[in-house]
Protein backbone atom coordinates (compact mmCIF):
# COMPACT_ATOMS: atom_id res chain seq x y z
CA UNK A 1 0.00 0.00 0.00
CA UNK A 2 1.55 3.26 -1.11
CA UNK A 3 0.06 6.73 -0.92
CA UNK A 4 0.89 7.75 -4.48
CA UNK A 5 -1.09 9.53 -7.15
CA UNK A 6 -3.24 6.43 -7.72
CA UNK A 7 -4.24 6.62 -4.10
CA UNK A 8 -5.02 10.33 -4.37
CA UNK A 9 -7.20 9.64 -7.40
CA UNK A 10 -8.91 6.73 -5.65
CA UNK A 11 -9.55 8.94 -2.64
CA UNK A 12 -11.14 11.67 -4.75
CA UNK A 13 -13.23 9.16 -6.73
CA UNK A 14 -14.42 7.44 -3.63
CA UNK A 15 -15.20 10.78 -1.99
CA UNK A 16 -17.31 11.66 -5.02
CA UNK A 17 -19.19 8.41 -4.73
CA UNK A 18 -19.74 8.67 -1.00
CA UNK A 19 -20.84 12.30 -1.23
CA UNK A 20 -23.29 11.40 -4.00
CA UNK A 21 -24.70 8.64 -1.82
CA UNK A 22 -25.01 11.02 1.13
CA UNK A 23 -26.23 13.98 -0.88
CA UNK A 24 -29.76 13.93 0.50
CA UNK A 25 -28.55 13.33 4.02
CA UNK A 26 -26.19 16.31 3.89
CA UNK A 27 -28.96 18.46 2.40
CA UNK A 28 -31.21 17.47 5.25
CA UNK A 29 -28.61 18.28 7.90
CA UNK A 30 -28.12 21.65 6.21
CA UNK A 31 -31.86 22.27 5.92
CA UNK A 32 -32.20 21.83 9.65
CA UNK A 33 -29.69 24.51 10.59
CA UNK A 34 -28.71 26.16 7.31
CA UNK A 35 -30.11 26.49 3.83
CA UNK A 36 -30.30 22.90 2.68
CA UNK A 37 -27.75 22.86 -0.11
CA UNK A 38 -24.60 21.35 1.36
CA UNK A 39 -25.09 17.91 -0.19
CA UNK A 40 -25.94 19.52 -3.49
CA UNK A 41 -22.87 21.73 -3.38
CA UNK A 42 -20.41 18.97 -2.48
CA UNK A 43 -21.87 16.58 -5.02
CA UNK A 44 -21.65 19.19 -7.77
CA UNK A 45 -18.01 19.88 -7.03
CA UNK A 46 -16.82 16.29 -6.72
CA UNK A 47 -18.70 15.15 -9.81
CA UNK A 48 -17.08 17.97 -11.74
CA UNK A 49 -13.57 16.83 -10.85
CA UNK A 50 -13.99 13.22 -12.00
CA UNK A 51 -13.38 13.77 -15.73
CA UNK A 52 -10.34 15.88 -14.91
CA UNK A 53 -8.64 13.15 -12.88
CA UNK A 54 -8.00 11.05 -15.96
CA UNK A 55 -6.30 13.99 -17.57
CA UNK A 56 -3.50 14.18 -15.04
CA UNK A 57 -0.11 14.17 -16.76
CA UNK A 58 2.21 11.20 -16.54
CA UNK A 59 4.40 11.54 -13.49
CA UNK A 60 1.76 13.57 -11.65
CA UNK A 61 1.99 13.54 -7.87
CA UNK A 62 -0.74 13.40 -5.22
CA UNK A 63 -0.27 17.15 -4.88
CA UNK A 64 -1.23 17.60 -8.54
CA UNK A 65 -4.42 15.64 -7.99
CA UNK A 66 -5.30 17.76 -4.94
CA UNK A 67 -4.56 20.94 -6.84
CA UNK A 68 -6.92 19.87 -9.60
CA UNK A 69 -9.52 19.08 -7.00
CA UNK A 70 -8.98 22.43 -5.28
CA UNK A 71 -9.43 24.51 -8.39
CA UNK A 72 -12.47 22.48 -9.44
CA UNK A 73 -14.12 22.90 -6.05
CA UNK A 74 -13.39 26.63 -6.06
CA UNK A 75 -14.88 27.03 -9.50
CA UNK A 76 -17.93 24.82 -9.16
CA UNK A 77 -19.13 24.57 -5.57
CA UNK A 78 -19.88 28.12 -4.46
CA UNK A 79 -21.41 28.77 -1.04
CA UNK A 80 -19.21 28.58 2.04
CA UNK A 81 -18.05 25.03 1.38
CA UNK A 82 -16.54 25.81 -2.03
CA UNK A 83 -13.90 28.30 -0.89
CA UNK A 84 -13.27 26.44 2.36
CA UNK A 85 -12.69 22.98 0.90
CA UNK A 86 -11.02 24.58 -2.10
CA UNK A 87 -8.52 26.39 0.10
CA UNK A 88 -8.04 23.25 2.18
CA UNK A 89 -7.01 21.17 -0.83
CA UNK A 90 -4.93 23.99 -2.27
CA UNK A 91 -2.93 24.29 0.95
CA UNK A 92 -2.75 20.50 1.22
CA UNK A 93 -1.40 20.29 -2.31
CA UNK A 94 1.22 22.90 -1.53
CA UNK A 95 2.25 21.04 1.60
CA UNK A 96 3.11 17.95 -0.42
CA UNK A 97 4.28 19.55 -3.68
CA UNK A 98 6.48 17.27 -5.72
CA UNK A 99 6.18 14.33 -3.33
CA UNK A 100 5.44 11.18 -5.31
CA UNK A 101 4.53 9.03 -2.36
CA UNK A 102 3.37 10.26 1.04
CA UNK A 103 4.79 8.93 4.26
CA UNK A 104 3.20 9.37 7.67
CA UNK A 105 4.77 12.79 8.22
CA UNK A 106 3.49 13.94 4.85
CA UNK A 107 -0.02 12.78 5.71
CA UNK A 108 0.12 14.82 8.92
CA UNK A 109 1.46 17.82 7.01
CA UNK A 110 -1.28 17.48 4.42
CA UNK A 111 -4.07 17.32 6.98
CA UNK A 112 -2.60 20.17 9.01
CA UNK A 113 -2.24 22.40 5.97
CA UNK A 114 -5.81 21.65 4.94
CA UNK A 115 -7.17 22.52 8.37
CA UNK A 116 -5.06 25.67 8.59
CA UNK A 117 -6.32 26.76 5.19
CA UNK A 118 -9.90 26.48 6.36
CA UNK A 119 -9.15 28.47 9.49
CA UNK A 120 -7.34 31.10 7.43
CA UNK A 121 -10.41 31.66 5.26
CA UNK A 122 -13.23 30.99 7.71
CA UNK A 123 -11.72 32.09 11.05
CA UNK A 124 -13.58 29.38 12.93
CA UNK A 125 -12.32 28.07 16.24
CA UNK A 126 -12.88 24.67 17.76
CA UNK A 127 -16.34 24.43 19.20
CA UNK A 128 -17.86 26.90 16.71
CA UNK A 129 -19.88 24.02 15.23
CA UNK A 130 -18.23 23.95 11.81
CA UNK A 131 -16.18 21.52 9.76
CA UNK A 132 -13.22 22.59 11.89
CA UNK A 133 -14.69 20.44 14.67
CA UNK A 134 -14.03 17.43 12.45
CA UNK A 135 -10.72 18.62 10.97
CA UNK A 136 -8.91 19.57 14.17
CA UNK A 137 -9.50 16.27 16.00
CA UNK A 138 -8.47 14.55 12.76
CA UNK A 139 -5.20 16.47 12.64
CA UNK A 140 -4.54 15.79 16.31
CA UNK A 141 -5.27 12.08 15.96
CA UNK A 142 -3.08 11.84 12.88
CA UNK A 143 -0.20 13.47 14.73
CA UNK A 144 -0.56 11.08 17.63
CA UNK A 145 -0.80 8.01 15.41
CA UNK A 146 2.24 9.11 13.45
CA UNK A 147 4.17 9.83 16.63
CA UNK A 148 3.21 6.36 17.84
CA UNK A 149 4.75 4.94 14.67
CA UNK A 150 1.65 4.06 12.70
CA UNK A 151 2.00 3.58 8.97
CA UNK A 152 0.48 6.21 6.68
CA UNK A 153 -2.74 4.25 6.10
CA UNK A 154 -3.27 3.90 9.81
CA UNK A 155 -2.53 7.60 10.32
CA UNK A 156 -5.36 8.29 7.87
CA UNK A 157 -7.63 5.80 9.60
CA UNK A 158 -7.00 7.50 12.94
CA UNK A 159 -7.84 10.85 11.34
CA UNK A 160 -11.08 9.44 9.90
CA UNK A 161 -12.13 7.97 13.24
CA UNK A 162 -11.49 11.27 14.96
CA UNK A 163 -13.33 13.24 12.27
CA UNK A 164 -16.37 11.03 12.69
CA UNK A 165 -16.33 11.54 16.44
CA UNK A 166 -15.78 15.24 15.82
CA UNK A 167 -18.83 15.44 13.58
CA UNK A 168 -20.93 13.80 16.26
CA UNK A 169 -19.47 16.19 18.83
CA UNK A 170 -21.00 19.16 17.00
CA UNK A 171 -24.51 18.05 17.88
CA UNK A 172 -24.83 19.64 21.34
CA UNK A 173 -23.12 22.87 20.25
CA UNK A 174 -24.46 26.35 19.56
CA UNK A 175 -22.93 27.62 16.31
CA UNK A 176 -20.75 30.70 16.11
CA UNK A 177 -19.91 30.66 12.40
CA UNK A 178 -21.84 30.03 9.21
CA UNK A 179 -25.60 30.10 8.78
CA UNK A 180 -26.26 27.96 11.81
CA UNK A 181 -24.98 30.80 13.99
CA UNK A 182 -28.22 32.70 13.26
CA UNK A 183 -30.12 30.03 15.10
CA UNK A 184 -28.75 30.47 18.59
CA UNK A 185 -29.94 27.74 20.91
CA UNK A 186 -32.07 26.25 18.18
CA UNK A 187 -28.99 24.74 16.55
CA UNK A 188 -28.52 22.47 19.53
CA UNK A 189 -29.20 18.84 18.75
CA UNK A 190 -28.27 19.06 15.08
CA UNK A 191 -25.06 17.85 13.51
CA UNK A 192 -23.09 20.33 11.42
CA UNK A 193 -23.29 19.32 7.74
CA UNK A 194 -19.76 20.46 6.93
CA UNK A 195 -18.32 18.44 9.79
CA UNK A 196 -20.24 15.46 8.50
CA UNK A 197 -18.93 15.86 4.94
CA UNK A 198 -15.41 16.16 6.35
CA UNK A 199 -15.86 12.85 8.18
CA UNK A 200 -17.13 11.20 5.00
CA UNK A 201 -14.22 12.53 2.95
CA UNK A 202 -11.54 11.52 5.45
CA UNK A 203 -13.06 8.05 5.76
CA UNK A 204 -12.82 7.76 1.96
CA UNK A 205 -9.17 8.69 2.15
CA UNK A 206 -8.47 6.06 4.79
CA UNK A 207 -10.41 3.40 2.89
CA UNK A 208 -8.57 4.22 -0.32
CA UNK A 209 -5.27 3.87 1.53
CA UNK A 210 -6.27 0.59 3.11
CA UNK A 211 -7.16 -0.97 -0.24
CA UNK A 212 -4.55 0.62 -2.47
Amino acid sequence: MSLDVAWAQAWIRSSAQVLAEHRAELNTLDREIGDGDHGENMDRGFQAVLPKLDGLADGATPGDAFKTLASTLISTVGGAAGPLYGTAYLKAATAVTGVAELDGAAVVALLTAARDGIVLRGKAESGDKTMIDAWTPAVDAAEQAHAAGADPALVLAAAADAAEAGAVSTEPLVARKGRASYLGERAIGHRDPGAQSTALILRSGADAAASS
Binding site: D35, E40, G79, R179, Y182
Partner: protein
Protein backbone atom coordinates in the same frame (compact mmCIF):
# COMPACT_ATOMS: atom_id res chain seq x y z
CA UNK B 1 -43.18 20.10 -5.63
CA UNK B 2 -44.92 21.89 -8.48
CA UNK B 3 -42.82 24.32 -10.43
CA UNK B 4 -42.60 25.71 -13.92
CA UNK B 5 -39.21 24.21 -14.61
CA UNK B 6 -37.65 21.72 -16.95
CA UNK B 7 -34.61 19.93 -15.48
CA UNK B 8 -34.02 21.45 -12.00
CA UNK B 9 -30.32 21.52 -12.82
CA UNK B 10 -30.98 24.01 -15.62
CA UNK B 11 -33.15 26.46 -13.69
CA UNK B 12 -30.58 29.23 -13.44
CA UNK B 13 -29.21 28.84 -16.97
CA UNK B 14 -32.66 28.85 -18.56
CA UNK B 15 -33.92 31.72 -16.44
CA UNK B 16 -30.86 33.82 -17.24
CA UNK B 17 -31.23 33.02 -20.93
CA UNK B 18 -34.90 34.06 -20.74
CA UNK B 19 -33.97 37.21 -18.87
CA UNK B 20 -31.50 38.15 -21.56
CA UNK B 21 -34.04 37.46 -24.29
CA UNK B 22 -36.69 39.53 -22.51
CA UNK B 23 -34.54 42.60 -21.91
CA UNK B 24 -32.08 42.94 -24.77
CA UNK B 25 -32.33 46.71 -24.55
CA UNK B 26 -31.02 46.67 -20.98
CA UNK B 27 -28.71 43.69 -20.54
CA UNK B 28 -26.68 41.06 -22.24
CA UNK B 29 -26.05 37.74 -20.61
CA UNK B 30 -23.20 35.26 -20.54
CA UNK B 31 -24.10 31.63 -19.96
CA UNK B 32 -20.61 30.22 -19.42
CA UNK B 33 -19.76 31.47 -16.91
CA UNK B 34 -23.19 32.80 -15.93
CA UNK B 35 -23.46 36.55 -15.44
CA UNK B 36 -25.60 39.47 -16.56
CA UNK B 37 -24.13 42.82 -17.64
CA UNK B 38 -25.47 46.13 -18.89
CA UNK B 39 -25.83 45.97 -22.64
CA UNK B 40 -23.55 49.01 -22.86
CA UNK B 41 -20.82 47.70 -20.53
CA UNK B 42 -18.08 48.61 -19.93
CA UNK B 43 -18.63 52.32 -19.44
CA UNK B 44 -15.28 54.00 -19.91
CA UNK B 45 -14.29 56.04 -16.89
CA UNK B 46 -17.26 54.98 -14.77
CA UNK B 47 -16.89 52.92 -11.62
CA UNK B 48 -18.36 49.48 -12.32
CA UNK B 49 -20.72 47.94 -9.78
CA UNK B 50 -21.06 44.21 -9.45
CA UNK B 51 -23.31 42.31 -7.11
CA UNK B 52 -24.43 38.73 -6.95
CA UNK B 53 -25.37 35.83 -4.76
CA UNK B 54 -27.47 32.74 -4.84
CA UNK B 55 -30.39 32.66 -7.27
CA UNK B 56 -33.97 32.52 -6.03
CA UNK B 57 -34.11 36.13 -4.81
CA UNK B 58 -35.16 37.67 -8.12
CA UNK B 59 -35.36 40.43 -9.18
CA UNK B 60 -32.25 40.71 -6.96
CA UNK B 61 -29.69 41.05 -8.53
CA UNK B 62 -30.16 40.68 -12.30
CA UNK B 63 -33.30 42.81 -12.31
CA UNK B 64 -31.21 45.73 -11.08
CA UNK B 65 -28.62 45.69 -13.83
CA UNK B 66 -28.83 48.75 -16.03
CA UNK B 67 -28.36 52.49 -16.19
CA UNK B 68 -28.01 54.03 -12.74
CA UNK B 69 -27.72 50.83 -10.75
CA UNK B 70 -25.64 47.67 -11.27
CA UNK B 71 -23.24 47.10 -14.12
CA UNK B 72 -23.33 43.36 -13.58
CA UNK B 73 -25.02 40.67 -11.53
CA UNK B 74 -23.65 37.21 -10.86
CA UNK B 75 -26.28 34.60 -9.99
CA UNK B 76 -25.13 31.43 -8.29
CA UNK B 77 -27.09 28.20 -8.08
CA UNK B 78 -30.38 28.59 -6.20
CA UNK B 79 -29.54 29.90 -2.70
CA UNK B 80 -25.83 29.20 -3.25
CA UNK B 81 -23.34 32.00 -3.72
CA UNK B 82 -21.58 32.05 -7.09
CA UNK B 83 -18.03 30.85 -7.48
CA UNK B 84 -15.14 33.25 -8.14
CA UNK B 85 -14.91 32.56 -11.89
CA UNK B 86 -18.12 34.27 -13.01
CA UNK B 87 -17.58 37.05 -10.47
CA UNK B 88 -14.16 37.66 -11.97
CA UNK B 89 -15.52 37.49 -15.51
CA UNK B 90 -18.29 39.97 -14.67
CA UNK B 91 -15.79 42.26 -12.95
CA UNK B 92 -13.62 42.29 -16.06
CA UNK B 93 -16.63 42.83 -18.29
CA UNK B 94 -17.67 46.00 -16.50
CA UNK B 95 -14.26 47.48 -15.72
CA UNK B 96 -14.09 50.84 -17.45
CA UNK B 97 -10.77 51.77 -15.95
CA UNK B 98 -12.17 53.45 -12.84
CA UNK B 99 -12.29 50.35 -10.66
CA UNK B 100 -15.12 48.09 -9.59
CA UNK B 101 -17.25 47.99 -6.45
CA UNK B 102 -18.43 44.59 -5.23
CA UNK B 103 -21.68 44.74 -3.24
CA UNK B 104 -21.85 41.55 -1.20
CA UNK B 105 -24.52 40.31 1.16
CA UNK B 106 -23.07 39.12 4.44
CA UNK B 107 -23.06 35.34 4.15
CA UNK B 108 -19.88 33.35 4.64
CA UNK B 109 -20.10 31.84 1.16
CA UNK B 110 -20.76 35.12 -0.60
CA UNK B 111 -18.00 36.89 1.29
CA UNK B 112 -15.42 34.17 0.60
CA UNK B 113 -16.20 33.75 -3.09
CA UNK B 114 -16.23 37.50 -3.77
CA UNK B 115 -12.99 37.77 -1.80
CA UNK B 116 -11.28 35.25 -4.06
CA UNK B 117 -12.64 36.96 -7.15
CA UNK B 118 -11.38 40.32 -5.89
CA UNK B 119 -7.92 38.83 -5.32
CA UNK B 120 -7.89 37.44 -8.83
CA UNK B 121 -9.09 40.78 -10.25
CA UNK B 122 -6.32 42.57 -8.38
CA UNK B 123 -3.86 40.20 -10.01
CA UNK B 124 -5.31 41.43 -13.31
CA UNK B 125 -4.76 45.01 -12.14
CA UNK B 126 -8.42 45.85 -11.67
CA UNK B 127 -8.98 47.86 -8.54
CA UNK B 128 -11.80 46.31 -6.53
CA UNK B 129 -13.46 47.65 -3.39
CA UNK B 130 -15.95 45.52 -1.48
CA UNK B 131 -18.84 46.54 0.74
CA UNK B 132 -20.73 44.01 2.84
CA UNK B 133 -24.44 44.57 3.36
CA UNK B 134 -25.71 43.41 6.75
CA UNK B 135 -29.08 45.03 7.37
CA UNK B 136 -30.97 42.17 9.02
CA UNK B 137 -31.58 43.01 12.68
CA UNK B 138 -33.13 39.59 13.29
CA UNK B 139 -29.59 38.31 13.72
CA UNK B 140 -27.46 39.64 16.51
CA UNK B 141 -24.29 41.27 15.29
CA UNK B 142 -21.85 39.81 17.75
CA UNK B 143 -18.66 37.83 17.96
CA UNK B 144 -20.80 34.78 18.43
CA UNK B 145 -22.45 34.82 15.01
CA UNK B 146 -21.40 35.24 11.40
CA UNK B 147 -22.76 38.78 11.81
CA UNK B 148 -26.02 40.24 10.58
CA UNK B 149 -27.27 38.93 7.26
CA UNK B 150 -27.68 40.98 4.13
CA UNK B 151 -31.32 41.09 3.00
CA UNK B 152 -33.64 43.52 1.22
CA UNK B 153 -31.66 46.61 2.21
CA UNK B 154 -29.24 45.47 -0.51
CA UNK B 155 -31.62 46.89 -3.12
CA UNK B 156 -31.25 50.35 -1.62
CA UNK B 157 -27.47 50.06 -1.45
CA UNK B 158 -27.38 49.03 -5.11
CA UNK B 159 -29.67 51.85 -6.23
CA UNK B 160 -27.85 54.58 -4.37
CA UNK B 161 -24.31 53.39 -5.09
CA UNK B 162 -25.36 52.96 -8.72
CA UNK B 163 -26.54 56.54 -8.89
CA UNK B 164 -23.29 57.74 -7.36
CA UNK B 165 -21.28 55.83 -9.93
CA UNK B 166 -23.49 57.11 -12.72
CA UNK B 167 -22.93 60.75 -11.71
CA UNK B 168 -19.19 60.16 -11.96
CA UNK B 169 -18.05 59.56 -8.39
CA UNK B 170 -14.73 57.77 -8.12
CA UNK B 171 -14.34 54.34 -6.52
CA UNK B 172 -13.65 55.66 -3.05
CA UNK B 173 -16.63 57.99 -3.18
CA UNK B 174 -18.96 55.26 -4.45
CA UNK B 175 -17.79 52.88 -1.74
CA UNK B 176 -18.22 55.62 0.85
CA UNK B 177 -21.81 56.31 -0.12
CA UNK B 178 -22.53 52.58 -0.18
CA UNK B 179 -21.12 52.29 3.34
CA UNK B 180 -23.24 55.22 4.39
CA UNK B 181 -26.38 53.46 3.20
CA UNK B 182 -25.29 50.26 4.91
CA UNK B 183 -24.79 52.19 8.11
CA UNK B 184 -28.30 53.63 7.99
CA UNK B 185 -30.44 50.77 6.70
CA UNK B 186 -32.06 48.07 8.80
CA UNK B 187 -34.51 45.28 7.97
CA UNK B 188 -36.41 42.39 9.46
CA UNK B 189 -38.71 39.81 7.90
CA UNK B 190 -41.39 37.26 8.59
CA UNK B 191 -42.32 34.01 6.83
CA UNK B 192 -45.81 32.55 6.69
CA UNK B 193 -44.82 29.61 4.51
CA UNK B 194 -41.54 28.02 3.45
CA UNK B 195 -40.15 27.86 -0.04
CA UNK B 196 -39.07 24.88 -2.10
CA UNK B 197 -35.62 24.87 -3.72
CA UNK B 198 -36.03 23.19 -7.14
CA UNK B 199 -33.22 20.66 -6.73
CA UNK B 200 -34.31 19.83 -3.17
CA UNK B 201 -37.95 19.31 -4.05
CA UNK B 202 -39.11 19.73 -0.49
CA UNK B 203 -39.84 22.74 1.71
CA UNK B 204 -36.85 24.46 3.27
CA UNK B 205 -38.55 24.22 6.67
CA UNK B 206 -41.95 23.42 8.06
CA UNK B 207 -44.40 25.69 9.80
CA UNK B 208 -47.64 24.53 11.34
CA UNK B 209 -50.88 25.88 9.86
CA UNK B 210 -51.08 28.56 12.52
CA UNK B 211 -47.37 29.37 12.90
CA UNK B 212 -45.17 32.07 11.46
CA UNK B 213 -41.42 32.59 11.67
CA UNK B 214 -40.32 36.02 12.90
CA UNK B 215 -36.90 37.10 11.69
CA UNK B 216 -36.72 34.70 8.75
CA UNK B 217 -33.68 34.82 6.48
CA UNK B 218 -34.03 35.05 2.73
CA UNK B 219 -32.90 31.46 2.24
CA UNK B 220 -35.47 30.11 4.61
CA UNK B 221 -32.96 30.15 7.46
CA UNK B 222 -34.89 30.04 10.70
CA UNK B 223 -35.39 33.36 12.41
CA UNK B 224 -35.70 34.68 15.92
CA UNK B 225 -38.78 32.93 17.09
CA UNK B 226 -41.73 30.96 15.92
CA UNK B 227 -45.08 32.32 17.04
CA UNK B 228 -48.76 31.81 16.39
CA UNK B 229 -50.22 33.74 13.48
CA UNK B 230 -51.27 37.25 14.50
CA UNK B 231 -53.10 40.09 12.76
CA UNK B 232 -50.99 41.94 10.21
CA UNK B 233 -50.71 45.05 12.38
CA UNK B 234 -49.30 43.09 15.31
CA UNK B 235 -46.72 41.42 13.06
CA UNK B 236 -45.66 44.78 11.67
CA UNK B 237 -45.17 46.06 15.19
CA UNK B 238 -43.00 43.06 16.03
CA UNK B 239 -40.70 43.72 13.08
CA UNK B 240 -40.52 47.49 13.34
CA UNK B 241 -39.60 47.47 17.02
CA UNK B 242 -36.18 45.85 16.62
CA UNK B 243 -35.52 47.82 13.43
CA UNK B 244 -36.16 51.16 15.07
CA UNK B 245 -34.30 50.21 18.23
CA UNK B 246 -31.23 48.91 16.45
CA UNK B 247 -30.45 52.18 14.77
CA UNK B 248 -32.20 54.76 16.85
CA UNK B 249 -34.30 56.71 14.40
CA UNK B 250 -35.55 59.82 16.09
CA UNK B 251 -38.42 62.17 15.74
CA UNK B 252 -37.85 64.46 12.80
CA UNK B 253 -35.89 61.87 10.83
CA UNK B 254 -36.80 61.37 7.21
CA UNK B 255 -36.80 57.79 6.00
CA UNK B 256 -37.39 55.56 3.04
CA UNK B 257 -39.91 52.86 3.99
CA UNK B 258 -39.58 49.69 1.94
CA UNK B 259 -42.05 46.82 2.25
CA UNK B 260 -40.57 43.84 0.47
CA UNK B 261 -42.58 40.80 -0.55
CA UNK B 262 -40.88 37.42 -0.16
CA UNK B 263 -42.34 36.22 -3.46
CA UNK B 264 -45.65 34.57 -2.67
CA UNK B 265 -47.49 37.28 -0.79
CA UNK B 266 -50.30 39.07 -2.61
CA UNK B 267 -49.84 42.79 -3.12
CA UNK B 268 -52.93 43.68 -1.07
CA UNK B 269 -51.17 42.24 1.95
CA UNK B 270 -48.01 44.26 1.31
CA UNK B 271 -50.07 47.44 1.27
CA UNK B 272 -51.90 46.46 4.45
CA UNK B 273 -48.45 46.13 5.98
CA UNK B 274 -47.32 49.43 4.51
CA UNK B 275 -50.33 51.19 5.99
CA UNK B 276 -49.52 50.03 9.50
CA UNK B 277 -45.78 50.62 9.21
CA UNK B 278 -46.34 54.19 8.03
CA UNK B 279 -48.76 54.70 10.91
CA UNK B 280 -46.21 53.48 13.48
CA UNK B 281 -43.46 55.68 12.03
CA UNK B 282 -45.74 58.70 12.00
CA UNK B 283 -46.55 57.97 15.63
CA UNK B 284 -42.86 58.26 16.42
CA UNK B 285 -42.51 61.48 14.50
CA UNK B 286 -40.51 59.83 11.73
CA UNK B 287 -41.40 61.15 8.31
CA UNK B 288 -41.68 58.73 5.39
CA UNK B 289 -40.44 60.71 2.41
CA UNK B 290 -39.70 57.89 -0.02
CA UNK B 291 -41.35 54.49 -0.43
CA UNK B 292 -40.91 51.17 -2.18
CA UNK B 293 -43.44 48.33 -2.08
CA UNK B 294 -43.21 45.05 -3.92
CA UNK B 295 -41.30 41.84 -4.53
CA UNK B 296 -37.69 42.97 -4.78
CA UNK B 297 -35.70 40.52 -2.64
CA UNK B 298 -37.59 37.26 -2.69
CA UNK B 299 -37.19 33.73 -1.44
CA UNK B 300 -38.73 31.89 -4.36
CA UNK B 301 -42.43 31.40 -3.58
CA UNK B 302 -42.19 32.03 0.16
CA UNK B 303 -45.14 33.88 1.66
CA UNK B 304 -44.05 36.66 3.95
CA UNK B 305 -42.43 40.05 3.81
CA UNK B 306 -39.71 42.17 5.27
CA UNK B 307 -39.68 45.77 6.38
CA UNK B 308 -36.68 47.95 5.60
CA UNK B 309 -36.12 51.46 6.91
CA UNK B 310 -33.36 53.70 5.52
CA UNK B 311 -32.54 57.01 7.17
CA UNK B 312 -32.34 59.62 4.42
CA UNK B 313 -30.53 62.89 4.07
CA UNK B 314 -30.42 65.21 1.08
CA UNK B 315 -27.61 63.36 -0.63
CA UNK B 316 -29.19 59.92 -0.30
CA UNK B 317 -32.59 61.27 -1.35
CA UNK B 318 -31.15 62.83 -4.48
CA UNK B 319 -29.31 59.62 -5.36
CA UNK B 320 -32.47 57.59 -4.77
CA UNK B 321 -34.42 59.92 -7.07
CA UNK B 322 -31.77 59.83 -9.80
CA UNK B 323 -32.79 58.13 -13.05
CA UNK B 324 -32.60 54.35 -13.17
CA UNK B 325 -33.38 51.99 -16.00
CA UNK B 326 -33.34 48.32 -15.10
CA UNK B 327 -35.78 45.48 -15.60
CA UNK B 328 -37.18 45.79 -12.09
CA UNK B 329 -36.70 49.42 -11.14
CA UNK B 330 -37.15 52.21 -13.60
CA UNK B 331 -37.78 55.91 -13.45
CA UNK B 332 -36.60 59.22 -14.78
CA UNK B 333 -35.62 57.74 -18.13
Amino acid sequence: MKKLVNDPKNVVDEAVAGFGAAHPDIVRVSLDPVYIVRSDAPQAGKVGIVSGGGSGHEPLHGGFVGFGMLDAAVPGAVFTSPTPDPILAATKAVDGGAGVLHIVKNYTGDVLNFETAADLAAADEIEVRTVIVNDDVAVKDSLYTAGRRGVAGTVLVEKIAGAAAERGDDLTAVATVAEKVIGQVRSMGVALTPCVVPHAGEPSFTLADDEIEIGIGIHGEPGRERIKLEPADAIVDRLLGPILDDLPYTSGDKVLLFINGMGGTPQVELYIVFRRAAEVLAGRGIEVTRTLVGNFTTSLEMQGMSITVLKLDEELTALWDAPVHTAALRWGK
